[in-house]
């Protein structure tokens, strides 16, 4: 009996199950059922960035949203008047950035680089569009969450001003 359970356990890739659990903790995917998160994982790209590597630069055209799986990322913005760039935020595992690229293919507003070896998931605009049309149930939740997050970020900016 135990042997059979061990054999069945051997069939499963713990890494993939960990990734699904990780996606469940992401705010953008809040409210999506665990079995539906599988479809999101199918559409994500993974890549590791070494410490100091630039992920994108201010002014680049954005095409993907980045979710930090492990490691740490810095967002810096160049002040055109002083010519200095300043770190405006640090992104920890479970957080994401670059969501504007999912809505408009516009230039990035910050430069992003890895503060340590970092593994990220990327969600490309074209993959999100596929998800929105092929699985509207998931698409509606992501679109709603995206709108809430954008609203919260806008409110934060206004409160700062």
């Amino acid at each position: 009996m135990f042997k059979a359970i061990r054999l069945l356990n051997g069939l499963y890739d713990k890494g993939t199950l960990k990734k699904i659990d990780f996606l469940k903790s992401i705010r953008l995917f809040e409210g999506i059922k665990k079995r539906d998160l599988i479809h999101i994982l199918e559409n994500l790209q993974e890549r590791t960035y070494l410490k100091g590597e630039t992920i994108f630069t201010q002014g680049d055209i954005g095409r993907a949203l980045f979710i930090v799986f492990s490691g740490k990322i810095a967002l810096s913005r160049l002040d055109r008047e002083t010519g200095h760039s300043e770190i405006i935020a640090e992104v920890q595992p479970g957080e994401f950035f670059g969501e504007m690229a999912l809505l408009e293919e516009m230039p990035r507003t910050a430069t992003v680089y890895a503060l340590e070896e970092t593994r990220v998931f990327m969600l490309f605009k074209i993959k999100l569009e596929t998800l929105l049309f092929a699985r509207p149930r998931i698409g509606v939740i992501i679109a709603t969450q995206l709108a809430k997050i954008m609203s919260a970020r806008l409110r934060a900016v206004l409160e700062k001003v």
């Binding site: 051997g10 069939l11 890739d13 993939t16 199918e42 890549r47 993907a64 770190i87 490309f124």
Partner: protein, 358 residues
């Protein structure tokens, strides 16, 4: 403050990658015969990969998913081949028995046709149609023998595909992890778009071919045509090449119908049937199945097929449309990049709303 320092570009950094690429390209040209099964295996692995991914994202280890797929497909092929032989052995037996009379009738038909043509148009005698036909009949067994080496592909390709599937995207991941990090996003964006359009095309064309096979099989059986299973399989496979399915269907089944019935009526029925299949394909199957695939103009499809034939014969024809899909997507991406990255067009205006956030 950012720790970034501007990197000075030095063209010497590209020497090693360029040398590696050139070396591999030269090796591939030298051993192009050996490369071909790998190209075929890579194509098959690309088609099968979504099935493996389906299980992988559900937590099943890749190794077990690949073994499971091979066992399932193996069992399915065994059952299909067994059933087909059950059908076909009867058909092959009947073909064996009736072949001498069929061959006589074909020969007689050609002789009569030639005699009529020569009588009405004497210059046709110079074309020596009967001699050419006899030569073609003799050449058929030789042509079949040349196809034998292709049978080895049936064993080699699944073997190589197994290991490509096991490796998964390891090679691509390795390459991606080593391209300059700043360009990873754009490279993955290009790869995603090519993958989306090519994947949609392949999935569409395979589904379409299977449905055409089913319609042809049922229709031919209802018409009581001999060798309907064999002809339907032929139509199914040739449907993978645009326009070829209905054409092959009309030609092969008309010959069989002529030999079987010796009348024009069944041939006309078959012509109507295959015209119907063509319309069903154009009006119902393609708009639904291929709606997400790359749209190609019929003239471009024809050009691609001819170019494929010119470059690599029958395999060139089979690969021509997927390759055209890739080329079309690459051109589209290239134009978009020229417009956005190199500022060929003014920057797009962001969406602006006059009413402030409340």
């Amino acid at each position: 403050m950012s720790t970034e320092t501007p990197v000075k570009r030095n063209y010497r950094e590209f020497i090693i990658p360029v040398l590696i690429v050139l070396g591999f390209s030269y090796l591939a040209i030298l051993a192009k015969g050996a490369v071909f099964p790998f190209v075929l295996s890579a194509a098959l692995a690309y088609i099968l990969n979504p099935v493996i991914n389906y299980f992988e994202v559900r937590g099943i280890k890749r190794l077990y998913a690949v073994i499971g797929l091979y066992l399932t497909v193996g069992a399915l092929i065994f059952i299909i081949v067994y059933l087909l032989f059950h059908f076909l052995s009867f058909e092959i037996e009947s073909l064996q028995q009736s072949w001498p009379s069929y061959a006589d009738r074909i020969q007689q038909f050609v002789l009569n046709l030639n005699a009529k043509l020569v009588k009405n148009h004497p210059f046709m005698a110079g074309l020596k149609l009967t001699e050419k036909f006899a030569y073609a009949l003799e050449a058929v067994p030789r042509l079949l023998l040349t196809l034998l080496p292709a049978l080895t592909l049936l064993f080699v390709v699944p073997f190589i595909t197994f290991f490509i599937l096991l490796g998964g995207s390891d090679i691509l991941d390795y390459l991606l992890d080593h391209v300059p990090s700043r360009h990873a996003e754009i490279i993955l964006h290009i790869a995603s778009r090519i993958d989306a359009s090519l994947g949609n095309y392949l999935r569409g064309v395979i589904t379409e071919a299977f449905i055409i096979f089913l319609i042809a099989f049922i229709g031919l059986i209802l018409m009581d045509l001999n060798y309907s299973a064999f002809i339907a399989i032929l139509i199914g496979f040739s449907s993978l090449v645009p326009y070829a399915g209905a054409f092959v269907g009309v030609v092969v089944s008309s010959i069989v119908a002529y030999l079987q019935f010796g009348k024009m009526l069944p041939i006309i029925q078959l012509l109507i049937f295959f015209t119907g299949i063509r319309f069903v394909d154009d009006w119902f199957l393609q708009p639904y199945i291929m709606k997400k695939a790359v749209k190609l103009n019929p003239a471009i499809i024809l050009f691609a097929l001819l170019a494929g034939w010119e470059l690599a014969g029958i395999w060139g024809v089979i690969f021509s449309i997927p390759v055209t899909c890739i080329i079309k997507e690459v051109i589209q991406i290239g134009v978009e990049l020229q417009e956005t990255e190199f500022r060929w067009k003014p920057k797009p205006e962001p969406t602006r709303i006059s009413i402030p956030y409340t």
